[in-house]
């Protein structure tokens, strides 16, 4: 750097640390819009929807959203790199079956079976990771294949049978509340720990900076020394391991290990992540928005169910919300242009921040 721009040759340019004050950066972000929407939906449901304020509602809201919340963490990181993982729900199904068979048929202690299930999940993720990162295959095609493959192995192992013989201690633990009488299930503890870990990884570590750089411009990332392939492979393995954990949780909380467990969940996870403001092209997005996105869907579901709506109407609403959330920037573009036109009158030489990004349709 110093060779290219020796000090003293040209007048040193100075940059403000940020173009906008802190509160504007927080409030005007995409993530904040989702959080605001979540709060609005929550307050509305709390006051207008009967029984929404009962502790049972929140408990089931958290319990049912837990799987999506957990899976959304690694999914966010993967989508930020510009890849996608459609196979997570199938990994959940496979690890659920593996967990059930290991503990019921093989007679392993539940703890050992759980560890084995997480390892199997990580192996599934490693298959994706190797094919995507090292063989260089498109992740959407690979994970459509492994979506069928992992689910197929689960179905092949167990067929239409199921395993239901789990110690009460473990199934109760999955359903237990942190403090009796409060609406917070124990799984939230695991989620908070994992969420903090992923938030640190994504937003506060060198590794995480690399993730965003890969998403914005993977060639530039490669040339600045980010190990592109290894980063992607690690993320897929993490996604598999978390899916393994979710497989155990789903098995214990429902008490059944079946091959069809969590079928179709991958699309819900991706919908929630995109709703939370992560760009499908990579490079943009933050965990707070994603978590708010998942909870927003959960709150809407609960509120509409309590209002007597069917799951079908709810799906229409969620689908519309997803489409709207991604078309919003386009719809708001004229407005933004008007604002930035006023701005450019003041600061005409601000560089385009999108330079060097992949130009995609």
């Amino acid at each position: 750097m110093s060779i290219l721009a020796p000090a003293g040759d040209a007048p040193a340019r100075t940059y403000a640390a940020y173009a906008r004050p802190f509160w504007q950066r927080v409030v005007l972000s995409r993530e904040f819009a989702v959080v605001a929407l979540l709060i609005a939906a929550f307050v509305y449901s709390q006051t207008q929807v009967d029984y929404f304020d009962s502790p049972q509602t929140l408990y089931y809201l958290f319990r049912d959203s837990a799987a999506i919340l957990l899976l959304a963490l690694p999914m966010t990181a993967i989508i930020v790199t510009g890849e996608i993982d459609l196979s997570v729900a199938s990994t959940v199904g496979l690890t659920s079956v593996a967990f059930g068979m290991l503990s019921n048929d093989a007679g392993l202690p539940v703890g050992v079976a759980a560890v084995a299930a997480i390892v199997i999940g990580a192996l599934c993720g490693a298959v994706n990771g190797v094919l995507v990162a090292y063989v260089g295959l498109p992740s959407i095609a690979v994970t459509i294949g492994t979506l069928a493959l992992f689910r197929g192995i689960a179905a092949g192992l167990l067929g239409t049978e199921s395993r239901t013989n789990f110690p009460d201690g473990w199934t109760d633990l999955a359903k237990q509340r942190i403090v009796e009488g409060q609406p917070y299930p124990v799984i939230l503890l695991a989620f908070v720990v994992l969420a903090l870990a992923f938030a640190w990884m994504l937003h506060f570590s060198t590794f995480g900076r690399g993730i965003y750089e890969i998403g914005l411009n993977d060639e530039a990332a490669h040339f600045t020394g980010v190990p592109v392939a290894r980063t992607k492979a690690i993320l897929f393995v993490l996604a598999g391991a978390v899916a393994g954990f979710v497989g155990i949780y789903t098995t214990l909380v429902t008490g059944v290990a079946r091959a069809e467990n969590s079928a179709g969940l991958e699309l819900q996870v991706i919908a929630a992540v995109l709703l939370g403001g992560v760009s499908i092209f990579g490079g943009r997005g933050a965990l707070p928005g994603v978590i708010a996105g998942v909870l927003l869907i959960g709150v809407i579901q609960r509120a509409m169910l309590l209002n007597g709506q069917t799951i079908n109407i709810i799906n229409i609403v969620i689908g519309t919300l997803l489409v709207l959330s991604v078309t919003a920037p386009r719809l708001l573009a004229p407005l933004q242009r008007a604002v930035s036109a006023r701005k450019t009158a003041r600061a005409s030489d601000r560089a385009q921040d999108s330079a060097g990004k992949r130009s995609l349709s």
């Binding site: 959407i140 294949g145 493959l149 799906n315 995609l360």
Partner: protein
């Protein structure tokens, strides 16, 4: 390199066609399909020569062929349509509903209504993708939920039973002409028309151009938005037709019809050699892929493999197909580099590259990161 491309081939047209066919992906898939049928038939004669064997072999894939053809048109433009399964469900229900609500309605009108409805649903996707500038994966994921929800809300708890539909319509699902089931003829006709259009017509070639490089297509003056929209309309219309076909074939419409079939359609296209990043592949390959997927499903039980393993085999096949593609592209890239380094005669002419790779022979030095940039471009 440029010499290698610009010089007319010395071989005769017939030899070139033969060469292309022998090296084509379509032939490879077809051979696997034939081998599968032969092996299965060797195990159980009924698979091919049974009373319904031949008919089922041709009939069962017809629905997926229609979807795969539409999906191919969309994937070629570097997009994807995940909403076809829901569209199929909606139109299947519409078909039954029309027969119930409008007694004596001509079958042709019902078919046209199904196609029109599918086209309208596809147009919604297309408008959002082409003018909303939203990635197709997200839009069609959203509309998949919306269409499925609309279908289930509309249908409520009632399902269409065989008795609700006229005899003549249900017979379409079982009738044959010259030993070929009617529905298969429908699917094959669509396949031939679309295949011919994609190969020869200007609009078809523009779809490939758009998929190869959207930005270049735009700069070249192609009407990118309009073409992408028409691809989605085609995909929707064919999903609509597939909905009518499924109603005729199964005689009933349940709430789960078409669930998850969108991934099978994408899988069929990928197996058939349609590159997921657009610009390459044919509907012939996709249709063969669809035949292969469906036939595998039907032959596994005959071969003594529990049919619970079907899905795993399908998944392994998809992964295997894309790995194979990768290996072939690698080999071709090396041949191209060799051709550039040692003159035009050293390597085979670049016939299929323009598609899967960036269209330029990668420099030797930058080969590693060139492949990386390609894999991310979504």
């Amino acid at each position: 390199m440029s010499d290698a491309v610009l010089q007319p081939s010395a071989a005769s047209p017939a030899r070139r066609v033969l060469h292309d066919v022998l090296r084509s992906r379509e032939l490879a898939v077809a051979l696997v399909l034939v081998a599968l049928v032969v092996v299965t038939t060797a195990n159980s004669n009924a698979f091919l020569f049974g009373r319904t064997g031949w008919r089922d072999l041709l009939l069962t894939p017809s629905m997926l062929v229609l979807l795969a053809v539409g999906q191919t048109a969309v994937i070629i433009t570097r997009n994807v349509d995940l909403s076809v399964g829901s569209t199929l469900g909606l139109t299947a229900y519409l078909t039954g509903r029309l027969f119930i609500d409008v007694p004596g309605i001509p079958i042709v009108v019902v078919v046209l209504a199904g196609v029109a409805m599918g086209a309208a649903l596809g147009a919604v996707n297309g408008i959002l993708v082409a003018w909303g500038r939203v990635p197709a994966l997200v839009v069609t994921l959203g509309t998949m939920y919306v269409y499925r929800g609309a279908f289930l809300t509309w249908a409520g708890s009632d399902r269409i039973n065989a008795g609700d539909m006229p005899r003549a319509f249900r017979d379409l699902g079982t009738d044959s002409i010259l030993g070929i089931p009617v529905l298969t003829i429908v699917a094959l006709t669509v396949l031939v028309v679309v295949g011919y259009y994609l190969r020869t017509a200007r609009g078809g070639r523009e779809l490939y151009a758009i998929g190869s490089d959207p930005a270049a297509a735009e700069l070249y003056g192609l009407k990118v938005s309009r073409r992408i929209l028409s691809a989605f309309v085609l995909s929707g219309a064919l999903a609509g037709l597939a909905g009518v076909v499924s109603a005729a074939r199964f005689g009933t419409v349940s709430s789960s019809v078409g669930m998850g079939i969108e991934l099978q359609a994408v899988g069929a296209a990928v197996i058939g050699g349609v590159a997921i990043f657009g610009g390459s592949g044919t509907v012939w390959g996709a249709a063969l892929g669809a035949f292969l997927l469906v036939t595998i499903n039907r032959s596994l039980p005959v071969l003594g493999i529990s049919d619970f393993w079907q899905q795993a085999v399908v998944g392994a096949l998809i992964v295997g197909a894309i790995v194979l593609d990768r290996v072939l592209v690698r080999r071709q890239e090396r041949a191209l580099v060799a051709a550039r380094e040692h003159g035009p005669d050293a390597g085979p002419p670049p016939d299929r590259t323009a598609s899967t790779s960036s269209g330029l022979p990668p420099l030797v030095a930058s080969e590693t990161h060139d492949e990386r940039s390609r894999e991310v471009t979504r």
